[in-house]
Structure formats: C-alpha cells, structure tokens
C-alpha cells in the first residue's frame, strides 16, 4: 500500500481545521495519518515538533514513529524526528505533569507506580480503613461478609468503584448524585425500575414480532400476541404487579400445527417473561419503597467507604511521592487548568492527532478538548465498531458525538475499504455484520467493507460445529494440521474468554503442536515459579516443612518413599548423604538470600536447576528485577506468601514457531494470516453467573446498587432495582459483544475458521453467545433459491485419539545439579560481618598526614637533610611498575640521587620500637627499592617518634 486510495487522499487533503475519521478495521488508518502528517510537514505548514500524536498503546506509538521515519527520513533530520511528540496518553500526561510540577503540586521527581505496587498499597491500607470506620460502615461490611466471612468481595468492589471513579471527570459530583440514582424512592420516577420495565417492553415487543413471523394464525398465536400486548400495555411497576400472565395450556394437536421455531419461542417466552414478571413484580409498592430506604443506607455506607479509602490511598501515595496511571491524567488535567501552563503547552503544538478515539474515557476527553481549544488543527481517528473497552469505562459515545466549539458535530470522513483481509473474508464479515448492527444497535448503520465474492468465500471461511469442548479442540487441531501453506506462527486461535485456552494449549501440545497463550498471567501461579519460590522459602526457613519437602521431591528428586522415611526418621546412609547435600545448597542460598535481592538469588537458583531458559522463568525474572519491594528476599517471600503481589508476565509474546492462543480483546489492532475463532458458543451467561454472587452492580448512568438482602435475618429481598440495572447492562453488553465480534472477524488476512456448537437460533430474543450472533444471520442471506452462505458442518469428533509420541521440547538435562558459583565475590565487601561496634578514634592518622605535608613542602628533618646533602632530592615521588599480574604503585616520601646511587627515605609516625618498625616496613621499602632501576639503593626509615634515621637492609 504505497499510494493512498481516493478515500485516504480525501482525508489527507482535508482542509478542515477539525476532522473526525471513522476508519474501518484494516482500512489503513495509521498509513493515512502518517501520509497526512508527511504532507503537513512537506508543505511547510508545521514543523515536526509542532505535532502532537496521542495513542493508547506503547506499541502503536512505536509503530507510528517508525512509519514517520520512513515517510520523512529524507527531508527531516533524525534529531527533529526524535523531538516529535508521538506517544501514549500516559506518557504525554507524565511529561506535562513533570514539567509543570509546581502547578500540579507534585514532587518533581515523582515515580509512576505499576499495578503491582498500587495493588499492594491498596491491599495494605484497606483493612485499616475498614476497621477505623467500622462503626459507620457496619451494614455494608455485614452485607459482604455475611456469607463469606471474608473482606475479599468488599475489597474487590471498593477497588472497582474507585477505579471507575478515576475515569470520571465529574467524580465528586457522580458520587454525590449519580451514584444514588437507583434509590429514588418514588418508584414511578425510579430509573432502575424504569430500566427493568423497558427491558420487559423491549423483549415483549421482539417476541410479538417473532410470534407473528413464525406462527400460523390460530387461537394459540392470538393468545401469545395478547400476552405480549398485556406486557406492553403495563406502564408502571404497579401495573406489572397486577398483570395476569397465566400461560394458556395448549390444546391437543394445537402445537403440531406450529413451526418448530414458534414452539421454541413459546417456551422461551414462558420462562423469560411470563414466569419472571410475576416473580419480580410481586412486591407491594410500599415494600419496595421501604426496601429502597433501608438499602439506600447500605449504598451510602459503601460510597462512604470508597471515599475514605480513596482518601487514605491518596495520602499514602503522596507520602511515597508516587503517582498511578490515573493520577497522571488527573494531574495533567490540573496542569491544563492553569491558564499560564495551558497557554505554554498549547503553544508547542499546531496539529493534534488522536488515534483510537473510540477508546477515550471522559477524563482523557477533557484533556483532548483543552488541548485542541478553538484554534488547533485537530484530527481524531477511530471506529466505534471496535470499541470493546466498556469495562474500562471507555465511552465510544464521546467519539460519536464530538462537537466543535459551536456545538456542531465535527465533520466525519470515512475510511471504508479494508486492505487487510481478502475479499472472501470481507464478504463474510459484511454478511454477518450488515444485518446485526441495525438489529441490535438501532442507531447505527453498517458500511460494507469489501466486495461480494461468495464462491471464494467458502474456501476462506469455514464454519464448524461440534458440541463438546474436546470435540471443538479436536477441530482446532485438525484445521492446524490441515493447513499446509502457513507456518504455525501465522495461525492464531482467538477465544472470547481466556478460560479454555489452557486446556486447548495442553490438547494441542499433546498432539505435537507447540502452542503458546499470548496473554498476561500471574507468574506466581505457574508451577515453575511456584517451585523456585518454594526453594527459596525452604532455603530461608528450613522449618517451613511443606516447602522443604516439596522442593526435596521436585527439585532434588526424592521419591515418595524417601520423604516418608525422612518423616519417620528411618533414613539410611545414602539418604542422609543426599539430604546433607541439599542442606549444603540451601545453606549457600540462605547466606546469599540474606544480602542479595530476590532477583539475584532466583536468577542463580534458576541457573542451578536448569530453568533459566524456560520462557516463563525468564519472563518472570525480567519482571521482578529492579522492583524495590523485592530488594530483600525476606520481604519478597513475605509479600508472596500473603498474596500481596501479583507478577504479570506474558510468556507467549516470546515464542516463535508456535500457534498463538489469545483472547479477542488482546487481538485488537493485530492481524494474522489465519484465524481460528474457538469456543464461539461459550455462553455469556457463564460470565453473568459468575457475577451473580456479586452483591453490587454499578453503572455510570444508574449508579450503584446493592443486592437486596436482609443481613439480620439472612433473607433475600425484592431484587427489583438490582435486576433493573442488570438488565439495562445486559442490553448494553450485547452491543459490546457485537463490536467484539466485529473485531474478531476482521483479524484474519487469508483464512478464518469459526468453531462452536450449532445452537444458532435465528429468533434469539436475547443472544447468549457469539454463535447466536453469527449463525442465524449467515443462514439467511441469499434466499432466492441458491444457498451460498457457508455450510454449517456438524462434525462428530471422536475425542481423545491420543498420539503417543510427545514431541514437546523438554529439557533432557533439566534439573541437573550444578555447583553454586559465587555471584560477585569481588563486589562483596561485606563477607565477614562482625557485630556492630564503634570505631576507635583516628587521631594518629591525622597527625601523620599533617607531618607528611610539612616535610613535602617545608624543611626536611635535620638527620634527613644531613643524609642527602649533595644529592638531587625529589620529594613525594610517584612510581609505577608491574610485578607479575599486578601493578605496584606508590609514592616515596623522599628520593635522592647522585650518579648511580639512590637513597630512599620513608617517614613513619607509628609508635613502635625501632626493631619492630624495621620488621613491619621492610617489605614496603623493598618494593620501593625495586621502583628505582639502575641505581644502587639505600633505604631508610625516619621515625618522628624516635627522631632518628634507621637504615633498612634487605
């Protein structure tokens, strides 16, 4: 793609001061921006350093720099290119906060905390905060601890809400007002209840439409439509409570006349609405109001807890002079709030570009707005269809509704054509997305991104169905094996959740395919790391028996029987010798562990046990080096034992020649020759179920809501508000899932395989998995007699056809013992630590120095002057000569030469008898004498104590 297309050229040539580019996946977004920048620079409209380009990831910032260099390398000096402000949001914020630290009121040398550090700080203060404010927050604590007897859930919720608040520009206001929206006591005004009613209405409406579409006219159909109408007729909560939704029993034979789809819909309708509505709306209005009032107190307590916790956390951070990522944004906003700073910062830039505009949160957006003002050239690029970070409080609406200073929408330019994928794949994407988007996202239209080419499509896109997970895994395996044209690293398996990737990895590697999971995991849970840590635990504290035995077994290869004998004290000689060997190794590490950092000790242990080259180990070591909390081993062990730290590494990122397994979220922005979408029928309800234990739901619009529980009597109460918010969020979730699907479908360049079970249901009122979104819609595209859409192949796979050879590359000599080598003996000035004591006074030394200066520049002591009369005298004369492999270096106090004779005198202030002086310094003078070649040397000591010259013979 060397020349811009017409679409792209239009963006590049755009003369508008502010533009918004809506760019489809793979449409050459970065290329276009870079072209645009190149044009601006080439035409002299701006210097490179007057450009501000903001991105969301380090990777894309790096990529942009590289591309800019390619574009402008010829005409712009590298130094200038370096000066261009291309970076992530966070790095930009960090730079302005650092430059304007006085305005931000932070320390000029603040450090940015990583997630590990902030979690640790948060965890450490949480218990204190809860205890301190317990009297004021008892109800909310009770709610969370009543069934679990732990603070974990409460902690999680508080952290989550606090994180959420960090993305709000209006946090104080949100806490005060918006957060309590759900607790409006007038239930006719209550938005959470309204959300539930809306949900019932939406759903009933859909059922009604589907009934009419699939049903054969009959009394049965009429009664179904009537039920829907009744639901649609109810307007208030009280109306719903009074509804008669008795489900009409089918008369004999009546159902047979209806289609399968209708029968299925009828059952769903009964379960989803006719049974649920009376359950949720049975409570009298007075009870709901009473519940609202009691629960409101709990929410208020929760918000209070969030607030006091937040204050404590902020104080702790300020004390440690640390900022976290959200602080960077917060303080940047503060800096930009200062007119002088704002003017100065804005003066640096003429053009502002923002990439991935759909991923901005309100705080970031405010920053952007302050920067662009009303006079900068501003270009924001994004794709609402790829906004999948709702859970991180990103708001695609911000991008959509971007307005200029007069409140008019910023003009949109479109980059529609996708260059990434082949047409057949694009055709499939169109087929799926075109009906989906208007169906679930009423306010959007889908613009096609490629040409139709249905025949080729069947080669490039394969839909496969298998019921169970092992069968699906087998399908993945077969597709990888069948692919002859691509290398393993060209194939990526995407799954919506990371849950089953581990199993898939195992399944594939058992069959000889190297597969790595490309995602961040907590290294501390990996067995390799567990073992290394256990080794360290056992080394540092041998009374920690569990660790000791485990290490004996897994690192030192003690058998079960050996361990049993060890426990029973029935050890034979051989066992005793082996145990002693292990103890000796531990002993060494204990010594090391008491002075070195965790990184150093673990690196050494990993080498000793042949684990250094394992990707997880090397990634882990890279992650812990230089971490201040791990600079002593004991502290490190304490933190991991108490589960206070998490060390995230991405092992998969290092691997080559392996199939990559990753989540769809992680694949955003990437492209691969072949993509296998795996486990696409994984129900979303699984995630919702996981959250059913969650006692709090919150929403930016509807606020915070606790599940309704009477903690005094351990009884559940009316769940209306909770349900309302949940249903509201579910509807939003489907939209996000559609966007996620779009991202998933647009990753493949050449080939795409979609694997799931064939539970597609064209009339899914509430889609439950990705397959629900894909399947029904692909089945009904070309209806004029020709079935052109991909055939849904149902494959029955015999699972567990084990291949016995296991070509997984292991370490043939792994875990073999090697001697421990001292890490840095030369750098260890602390080898022999003795108990602390104060030094004696050093008066003698000072006197010596003073005397030397005197004799260097002043008069010589009389006996010395006498001795060297007639000689040429040199004082304080330096010398150097090599002896063996060392260089001998020194300074002689006095050297006197005449012809081939030389006299050396050294002054001594030591209080020693003469003979002892000679004995002590003979070697020194011998070395001096060697420094004077080709002379007959006589050597003397001059003692200031004895005031006499003493000749020294060698």
């Amino acid at each position: 793609m060397n020349k811009p297309t017409r679409e792209q050229q239009k963006v590049i040539d755009s003369q508008a001061r502010e533009i918004k580019v809506s760019a489809n996946a793979g449409s050459g977004k970065t290329f276009t921006i870079m072209q645009q920048i190149a044009q601006i620079v080439k035409t002299g409209n701006s210097r490179v350093d007057q450009l501000l380009v903001l991105t969301f990831t380090e990777a894309s910032a790096k990529d942009m720099r590289k591309k800019l260099k390619e574009q402008l390398g010829d005409i712009v000096k590298p130094a200038e290119l370096q000066a261009a402000s291309i970076g992530t949001f966070h790095s930009f914020c960090s730079s302005i906060v650092r430059a304007w630290f006085t305005v931000a009121e932070v320390s000029p040398s603040f450090a940015v905390m990583d997630a590990v550090e902030s979690t640790k700080i948060k965890a450490a203060i949480f218990e204190h905060v809860v205890l301190e404010h317990y009297a004021k927050i008892a109800k909310v604590v009770d709610l969370f601890t009543a069934s679990s007897r732990k603070l974990d859930q409460l902690r999680k919720v508080v952290f989550e809400i606090q994180d959420f608040l960090d993305t709000r520009e209006d946090r104080a206001d949100w806490l005060k007002r918006q957060a309590l929206t759900a607790y409006e006591p007038d239930i006719n005004q209550n938005q959470a209840i309204q959300a539930l009613i809306n949900y019932y209405h939406h759903t009933a409406e859909k059922y009604r439409a589907y009934f009419l579409e699939t049903g054969t006219p009959s009394p049965m159909l009429d009664s179904m439509v009537d039920l829907c109408n009744r639901i649609l007729g109810a307007q208030t909560y009280a109306d719903f409570g009074g509804l008669d939704l008795t489900f009409p029993a089918a008369k004999s034979g009546e159902l047979k006349t209806q289609s399968d789809a209708f029968r299925k819909l009828r059952e769903d309708f009964r379960d989803k609405l006719c049974r649920t509505i009376p359950e949720t709306c049975q409570y009298p209005v007075a009870q709901i109001t009473a519940d609202i009032n009691t629960e409101r107190v709990i929410v208020e307590q929760l918000l209070l807890l969030v607030q006091v916790f937040d204050q404590a956390y902020q104080a702790k951070k300020a004390e440690a002079k640390k900022l976290d990522f959200s602080d960077l944004e917060k303080y940047a906003l503060k800096v930009l709030g200062n007119p002088e700073a704002l003017t100065s910062i804005r003066a640096q830039f003429k053009y502002i570009f923002v990439d991935e505009g759909q991923d901005t949160n309100p705080v970031q957006f405010k920053i952007i707005n302050l920067l662009r003002g009303t006079d900068k050239f501003f270009c924001i690029v994004g794709d609402v269809k790829q906004s999948i970070y709702g859970f991180r409080a990103c708001e695609p609406e911000i991008f959509e509704s971007l307005t200029d200073e007069d409140g008019n929408l910023v003009p949109v330019l479109l980059l529609g054509k996708n260059f990434r994928s082949t047409d057949p794949i694009l055709h499939f994407v169109n087929m799926v997305m075109k009906p989906l988007i208007p169906h679930y996202m009423e306010d959007h239209k889908f613009t096609e991104i490629g040409e139709p080419n249905p025949e080729a499509m069947q080669q490039a896109v394969v839909l496969e169905a298998a019921k169970t997970l092992p069968e699906q895994m087998e399908l993945v395996y077969r597709h990888i094996v069948a692919e002859k044209n691509l290398a393993w690293q060209d194939i990526v398996v995407l799954s919506e959740t990371s849950g089953h990737l581990l199993e898939l990895q195992k399944y594939l590697s058992e069959r000889g395919i190297s597969a790595v999971i490309d995602r961040k995991t907590n290294a501390l849970l990996e067995p390799e790391i567990t073992l290394l840590n256990d080794f360290l635990f056992a080394a540092m504290n041998p009374t920690n028996e569990l660790k000791r035995y485990l290490v004996l077994q897994y690192l030192f290869h003690f058998s079960n029987d050996d361990l049993a004998r060890l426990r029973l004290g029935q050890m034979d000689d051989q066992l005793t010798v082996r145990l002693n060997q292990c103890d000796a190794i531990w002993q060494q590490y204990r010594q090391l562990g008491r002075s070195a950092s965790a990184y150093e000790v673990l690196t050494q242990a990993a080498t000793e046990f042949g684990m250094l080259e394992m990707p997880v180990v090397s990634a882990f070591l890279a992650a812990i080096r230089g971490v201040r909390d791990f600079d002593t081993v004991a502290r490190y062990l304490y933190l991991i034992e108490h589960d206070l730290v998490k060390i995230e590494v991405n092992v998969g990122a290092y691997a080559q020649n392996a199939v990559k397994l990753m989540t769809i979220h992680n694949s955003k922005g990437l492209e691969f020759p072949m993509v296998i979408l795996f486990n696409m029928s994984n129900p979303w309800s699984a995630q919702s179920n996981e959250r059913s234990n969650v006692k709090v739901v919150y929403d930016k619009r509807l606020g915070v809501c606790v599940s309704s529980v009477d903690t005094e009597n351990y009884v559940l109460k009316s769940p209306v508000l909770h349900l309302g918010i949940k249903k509201y969020q579910q509807e939003i979730e489907v939209k996000e899932k559609i966007r996620l699907l779009y991202v998933a479908l647009t990753r493949a360049k050449k080939k795409m395989v979609i694997i799931g079970s064939d539970q597609g249901n064209r009339y899914a009122v509430q889609p439950n998995c990705m397959m629900h979104l894909i399947n029904p819609l692909t089945m009904h595209v070309y209806e004029d007699g020709v079935e052109l859409s991909p055939k849904l192949t149902t494959t029955t796979v015999k699972s567990k056809t084990k291949i016995t050879t296991c070509p997984v590359v292991g370490h043939p000599d792994a875990l073999v013992k090697q001697s421990v080598t001292a890490l840095a003996t030369s750098a260890e000035p602390f080898q022999d630590y003795v108990a602390p004591q104060l030094f004696a006074d050093v008066g003698g030394k000072e006197f010596g120095t003073a005397f030397h200066r005197q004799v260097q520049y002043g008069d010589l002591p009389e006996p010395v002057a006498e001795l060297v009369t007639g000689y040429t005298v040199y004082r304080e004369i330096p010398f150097l000569y090599p002896q063996g492999q060392t260089i001998v270096q020194g300074i002689m106090d006095l050297l006197a030469v005449k012809d081939n004779e030389a006299i050396i005198v050294d002054y001594k202030t030591t209080r020693l008898p003469k003979d002892q002086l000679v004995a002590k310094y003979r070697e020194q003078l011998r070395l001096y004498a060697q420094a004077v070649p080709n002379y007959q040397v006589r050597a003397y000591l001059y003692s200031t104590v004895h005031k006499a010259l003493i000749e020294v013979k060698f």
Binding site: A79, S107, R149, K321, N713, V809, Y881
Partner: protein, 849 residues
C-alpha cells in the same frame, strides 16, 4: 611553542600515541598525564607497556591535580575539604530549606531532597558551562524564566554560604584556574593530556592556564569537538593506524538468550586463541542485567570481570538500616521480616525461623527486635543517626549518617523524609571496586567504560529503548534547555550524548564490533525458546512404609479416608507427611467452623445462647471487629434457627453429642471417629431409631454422589456401626448451617438419606431437596458399598499407593501444592464420570459400577 596538539582520526590510537610520548620521558623528569576519571588505570597500563619503570610520572585527573596544587600552595593550613556529590547535594538541600520562604517559582516541592538533587545538577551544569549567575536573571526573556533564575540564583548564593570554606567539584576547577600557574609541581612538569572527547568550558579554562604555566603541554585530539575547542593551538596531523573493525549483529528473543549467544561466541573466540583481555562486553542496562550475564558466563565457565560500581544501597547493611527505619515508620510486618532475616540483625538462625513462623501465624508486628524497640524511643534525627551509626561498620554508611546528622541538626525531623533521604543517598553512593583486568573478559556498563584498544568489542542490549543509536547531526548537543520549563537536560540532549558515544565505541575495536539485542527491529538470528515445559511427574512407585506413616497407632480416621479418595497424593502430603501450609494470620474457614461447632455443642447441652456464643468466640481467637462481630451475629442466628428447626420434630431430644464411634477393620486396624450429634427416638418395646447428624459450616451437596465416590464416608460408616437389633437407622445427613442466603424464612434442612420406614419420624421440613428417601435394602447396600470403599482405601494406603488423582478441575487451584504434582487436569476424576448422574438408583438397580 610548548603546546603541542596531535590530531589523529582514531580516538584510541591518538591517545595511545600521546601516551607513548609520555612514556618516553627521561626517568625522574616530572611528568603529569592528565586524563578523565576512570581512565587512570587504563593510562597507567598503557604507559607501562612502553616503559616498565615509571618514576616521577603521575597519572592525574582534574581533581587529583587540584589536590596537588592546593596542598602545595596551602601546605601549612589544613586541607580544604572537597565535598563529594552526595554531601554537596545534602548541603544544597539544607540551603533550600533555609530560604524556602524567599523562593517564588519553586515553591511547593522545594523541600524535597530529590528536588535538591535535580537543582544541584542544573547548577553544576551551569557552572561548568561558565554561566554568569548574576546576569541570568537580567537576560531572561519571559517572566517565568526571570522568576526561575531569580530562585536558582538565591539557592546558589545560600549554598555557597553554607559550604564555605569547603568547596565542591566546580569550586575545585575555579581554584585551579586561579592558582595552577603558581604551583611548582605544574611549572616543573611536562603535561600530557589525553582520553578526552571534549572539555567543559570550565575545564578548558584550566587547560588554558596549564598551557601558560607548564614546561610543556602535549594534547591528544581526535574528536571533532575537542579539536574545535583547541582550535587556538596549531595541531599536528598524525597518521595513526585506523582500525577497520567489521560490524556484525546478532539477536535473540530474550535477554538471557542474548547473553547465551554472546558468551558462546566469546568462548569460541578464546578457544581460537584470542586473549580474554582483548574482549570487552558493554551492557547498556548494566545495573539490571549484570547478574544475568554473570550467571550465564558462569554456566559456560568463562572468567569475567564485572566492572561493578556497586551501589551502597545494595549492601545488606544499608538494607538493614533502611528496613529498620521502615519498620519504625510503617509498622509493617514485611519490613520486620526483612530486618530479622538480614544477616546484620545478629539474631541466630533458630530464633529467626521461630519469629518468622510466628509472624506468619499471628499479627505480630514490629515488636520483637530489641534494636527496633530501642530505636522507637528516638525522637530526634541526630540521636537516631548516632544509634544507626553504632549499628554499622561500613564507613560509607557511617559517613552518610554523620552527614545527615550534621546537616539536619537544625531541621525539623520527619521520619519519612529521613528514610527517603537516607535511601537516596545510599542509592547514589557507589562502593568502589577496582577491577582486575588480567586474563578475564571485561563486562562493563556502556557509559562508564573508557574507550581503549580491544580486538573484539561486544555491545549488548542494543535494541533496548535507551540504546545509543549513532546519529549524524551534532548540533543537537547545544540544546541545553535552560530557559524552557525544565530544569534538567532534555531527553534529546541525553540521547545526543549517547549517539556520540555509540559512534566512538564502534571505532575502538581492531577486529570486530558485535552488536546484539533482543527486539525485532534488529537484524536477527532467530531463536525459539522452549515452550510447554513440564517436569517429570511424581514418582508413582508405592511407598514401603505406608502403615507406619499413616496408621502409627493402628487407628484409622474416616476423614483421612475421605481425603484419600479426594486425592491420594494430597492425603499423603497432609496426613502422611503431616505437612500443612503455614497458618497465615487470617480467619480461615476451618477456624470459623470449629468455633461454630463449639458453640453448637455447648448450646445443645446447656441451652444457653449467650454462653454458647461466648464459647464460640473464645474458640475463634481472632479479633477484627468487622469480621468477628459478624460471626458472633451469625452464631446467634444459627443457634436460634436450629432451635426452631428442631422444635417441631421428634428428633430433638435426647441428643447425644460428640460421640465416638468405632469399628474393627482388617489388618488389626480400628476405625474411629466422632459424630457431631446422634438423635434418638423411642419406638416402643425398647427399640429406638436414630438419626446421625453432622453440622457443616461450608457447602455440602450431592451427598449421594459423594458417598458413592468415597468423598463422604462418615455417614454410612457411623450408621452401620450403630446399628443393632434394638437400634434402627432412621437416617443420616449433614446439616449445612450456611448455604448463602435463604430465599424465605425456611428452616435448616438435612442433606443425606432417610430410611423410608421411619420417614414419619422426621419433621416434614427437615428433609432438604437433596435428601433421598431410601428403602432399608438400599441403605444396607449403600452402607456395604461404603464399607467396601473403606477396606479398599485402607488396602491401597497399606500398599503405599499415593498416586495423585484430582477430583475436579479447579481442585488444584486451591491445593496447597499449586499443581506441582503436575497431575492437574490429566487424571481428573470428574472427567471420567461426567454426564453420568449418580443417584441412589445405582444402588436400587444393584449397579455397583
């Protein structure tokens, strides 16, 4: 003309040329060789190459020259103390503190030590550029800059007042400019200057003075910048052999892999006869990567010399003092543990282990080290410093503490600030280490290494983000941002310096320059790391001492058998080897369970709620109101609801609690366990029916399935043990005391099985959804099956079979062994029985599958 400038193209060779001249000086002719810091040893070695005996030739740096001159001129006064950077910054910090009120621009954060360090760097930079402080303010263009220079000037003035009569490194240069010409040492000497790529204006002034005063001055210049600076002297162009090293690149995915690659190559070179001294490896991220390289070199048995400038902060002693202070400030257990384990603590091993175990088990914080206790009383910084000083034998540490004590005498004391200050100083202070060059490959930090002639030069981590890429444009050097908003050199200036250095480095090798890196944008030798590593699985050979290990007293506990069916290996670890994870200070489910059990046992004997709760609370032995108050409430709730549950039914009284049940097993073993509660009902004619009840504070479901699989054996075993002609089993079950929230006012319900003959004896609502009503025959078979499982388990344990087998997939996640046995998800029992619904039908149909 006594000034000679030799100009050659190659930096290294030009310097060597001048050093060769210096080595040719007659013996005893006063000679000074002026070199940059860190070049002294290198220069001495080169001099000795040409001249085996050097007498009266001094290799000096600017600061050594200062010492010579100052000592000579003021020999009868005490020597002027030269502050090292640490002390200078400390003084600047004090100065800023003093005049903080007068500052206009640097207001808020001016008190911070790290601010002082940045300020010091700025001032130092300005001084070495010979910037006139007084005129700065006048020249400033904007109001902002005016204010800033006003402040900087104020700070500088205050600093000068504080340090007088001492001096610092910039002061030293000023002194040399003023006095060097008066020194006889200088006047008599032939001076040779080499190793410099450029000179700051202040150093250039000193050099100018030397040229005026000394007997002769000879300067080596190859770098364009230095040549430009020396342009007033006429240069001699010299021909020196220009090295034309080949440059090759290599790459590996990981940093360790990169080290492996490089070290392998070095080993090969040495095998081919290259002397190790002629190979140098430079790391761009030395501090963090040096240990890795050391380890890898050790692996290949390659003798290397790490040119470590160890920081004081990495010494155990410094860490010890820091952790001690942190413990005082924070009261955090992690710091206390770190203090205990530090070898400077002087506490013997056994005590350390004991305390460590105690810290894990209890919430004991910061109270056990005598030193800590002693120090807690300290309220003033001077006293604190003195006490800390007495804890260390490290001179540098003592020095730092002494400085802090001196400088802080008048400062308000803040422990936090003190720790920061102490630690910053420790981190900034290097522990000197003179490297041995002989017969070893040198691994050095790229920025500190003195460019000298080597055959092979490896530059590692080239693709790291901070790697100095060569760059054509030199103008960038001028870009010191003194008027902008920053007070430190701009990053681009830093980068520019790196570029120049990178360029220089690539010309010093005679044979080859080898660049290595990890990132993709570097020409690559691909490397595939091992994926999917698994170590060997647990040894599956039977253990021969099963009986002694598991049944030392010939007693068999039913719970142990249940745990055996759960996972034989975990059972081996927990019940055979008796290994448990260390108890953390938290409210674990077991403790809560025992406490609630205790309360219930007491209640059903005395029927006194308050007393029962008191007993339960005592059993808890934990005090954290947000949790414990709630548990107290829960106990009350459970007791009340249980009482209510049993009020209606017949099985309420008499209640037999904590009953031991025993039965004989083969191999002379006795099975013996305790039942929480047995309820009896009179059937008339001396016959009685009984109900076996076990309280559960956690979840229980699928009792039937669990009995079938062996996870739950107690109920059928106890039931059959109690059966005889006059006592009939009415039912057995668990009473889950807590299963989340009830959906209405439901009472507790039994989870187990009931004999249909005696069904009417049960209160109607005592039977939970998961309770099966079974015929006596089925119950008989159920018990027999359980008994069979018991015998099987005992036999397998005696045979020493402890092969791991897990029950469910997420089982290993909660296992204390964390999947170490490597069995996770392979021998999963769940997998095998998936889809098979095990109900009592199995027994009814006689299927013992």
């Amino acid at each position: 003309m006594k000034v000679t400038v030799y100009r050659g193209e190659n930096f290294v060779a030009t310097n060597e040329f001048v050093l060769h001249k210096a080595a040719g000086q007659p013996l005893l002719q006063p000679t000074l060789v002026l070199v940059p810091d860190r070049f002294t040893l290198q220069a001495e070695r080169l001099l000795l190459k040409d001249q085996p005996h050097l007498l009266n030739t001094r290799v000096v740096t600017f600061s050594m020259l200062y010492r010579l001159v100052a000592d000579e001129i003021n020999f009868n006064q005490p020597a002027v103390e030269v502050l090292d950077k640490t002390s200078a910054v400390l003084n600047l910090w004090t100065a800023i503190h003093k005049i903080q009120g007068q500052l206009t621009w640097f207001k808020t954060s001016a008190g911070h030590y790290d601010f002082a360090e940045k300020m010091f760097n700025t001032i130092n930079q300005m001084r070495s550029s010979c910037v006139d402080f007084a005129s700065l303010e006048n020249q400033a263009q904007s109001a902002v800059a005016k204010k800033k220079y006003h402040d900087i000037n104020l700070i500088y003035q205050a600093y000068c007042q504080i340090i007088a009569p001492r001096t610092d490194s910039s002061g030293m240069l000023d002194y040399l400019t003023a006095h060097a010409a008066q020194s006889k040492v200088v006047q008599d000497a032939d001076i040779f200057v080499c190793g410099f790529t450029s000179l700051s204006p202040a150093r250039l002034q000193v050099l100018g003075e030397l040229c005026q005063a000394a007997k002769s001055v000879t300067i080596a210049a190859s770098e364009d910048e230095l040549c430009a600076q020396l342009s007033k002297y006429k240069p001699y162009r010299i021909e020196v052999d220009a090295f034309a090293p080949k440059t090759i690149t290599m790459r590996n995915e990981t940093e360790r892999g990169e080290a492996n690659l490089v070290i392998e190559k070095i080993v090969q070179l040495i095998a081919d006869g290259v002397p190790p001294e002629d190979i140098v490896v430079l790391l761009t991220e030395f501090d963090t990567l040096a240990p890795v390289w050391q380890v890898v070199a050790d692996k290949y048995r390659l003798p290397v010399n790490l040119d470590v400038g160890t920081k004081l902060s990495t010494l155990p002693e410094a860490k010890y003092l820091r952790d001690l202070l942190e413990t005082l400030a924070n009261d955090d257990a992690e710091n206390t543990v770190a203090v205990l384990f530090n070898r400077c603590s002087g506490i013997d091993d056994d005590t350390v282990y004991a305390l460590d175990n105690k810290i894990v088990a209890s919430d004991l914080r910061a109270r056990m080290v005598p030193e800590i206790k002693q120090l807690t009383a300290t309220k003033n910084v001077v006293a604190l410093c003195e006490q800390l000083q007495s804890l260390t034998t490290n001179e540098k540490l003592q020095n730092i503490l002494e400085q802090i004590a001196t400088e802080c005498r008048e400062q308000p004391f803040n422990l936090r600030e003190f720790i920061t200050l102490f630690w910053t100083l420790c981190s900034a202070t290097k522990v000197s280490n003179i490297p041995q060059y002989v017969d070893r490959v040198l691994i050095a930090p790229v920025n500190d290494w003195v460019p000298s002639r080597v055959q092979y030069l490896f530059i590692a981590n080239c693709t790291a983000d901070n790697f100095p890429q060569p760059q054509a444009d030199d103008d960038i050097l001028q870009e010191v941002d003194l008027v902008g908003t920053q007070i430190t050199p701009t990053p681009s200036l830093q980068r520019a310096r790196n570029y120049r250095r990178a360029e220089l480095l690539q010309t010093v090798a005679t044979q080859q320059v080898i660049l290595s890196g990890t990132h993709e944008d570097f020409t690559a030798v691909p490397y595939t790391p091992v994926v999917n590593f698994q170590w060997q699985k647990t040894d599956t050979k039977p253990i021969t001492v099963g009986r002694a290990l598991f049944f030392p007293e010939n007693r068999v506990k039913p719970t142990m058998l249940e745990s055996y069916y759960n996972c034989p290996y975990l059972n081996f670890v927990q019940n055979g080897l008796q290994l448990r994870p260390r108890a953390l200070h938290s409210l674990d489910p077991n403790t809560v369970g025992s406490a609630i059990h205790a309360a219930l046992q007491d209640y059903f004997v005395h029927f006194n709620v308050e007393q029962a709760i008191a007993i339960g609370k005592a059993a808890l032995d934990f005090d954290y109101p947000p949790l414990t108050k709630n548990i107290e409430k829960e106990m009350r709730f459970i007791i009340n609801r249980l009482a209510k549950t049993f009020q209606a039914g017949k099985f309420t009284l008499p209640t037999q609690v904590e009953t031991t049940v025993q039965c004989q097993l083969p191999h002379d073993l006795v099975l013996s366990g305790r039942v929480d509660r047995i309820d009896w009902a009179d059937l008339g004619n001396g016959a009685r029916a009984f109900l076996v009840l076990d309280y559960k504070t956690g979840r229980v479901d699928h009792v039937a399935r669990s009995i079938y699989l062996g996870d739950k054996l107690q109920l059928p075993i106890y039931s059959s043990a109690l059966l005889n002609d006059n006592s009939h089993l009415a039912g057995a079950g668990y009473l889950p005391l807590k299963s989340g929230f009830a959906t209405d006012q439901k009472t507790y319900s039994l989870n187990g099985f009931v004999n249909e003959t005696y069904q009417e004896l049960f209160p109607a609502d005592l039977l939970g959804d998961d309770t099966a009503v079974l015929s006596p025959d089925v119950i008989h078979r159920l018990c027999a099956h359980a008994r069979q499982l018991v015998d099987q388990a005992v036999a397998r344990i005696l045979a020493g079979d402890v092969t791991p087998q897990v029950v469910t997939k997420n089982h290993c996640e909660y296992c204390p062994l964390k999947g170490l046995c490597s069995q996770a998800q392979t021998n999963c029992r769940d997998e095998k029985i998936k889809g098979k619904k095990i109900t009592y039908k199995i027994f009814e149909e006689g299927s013992h599958e």
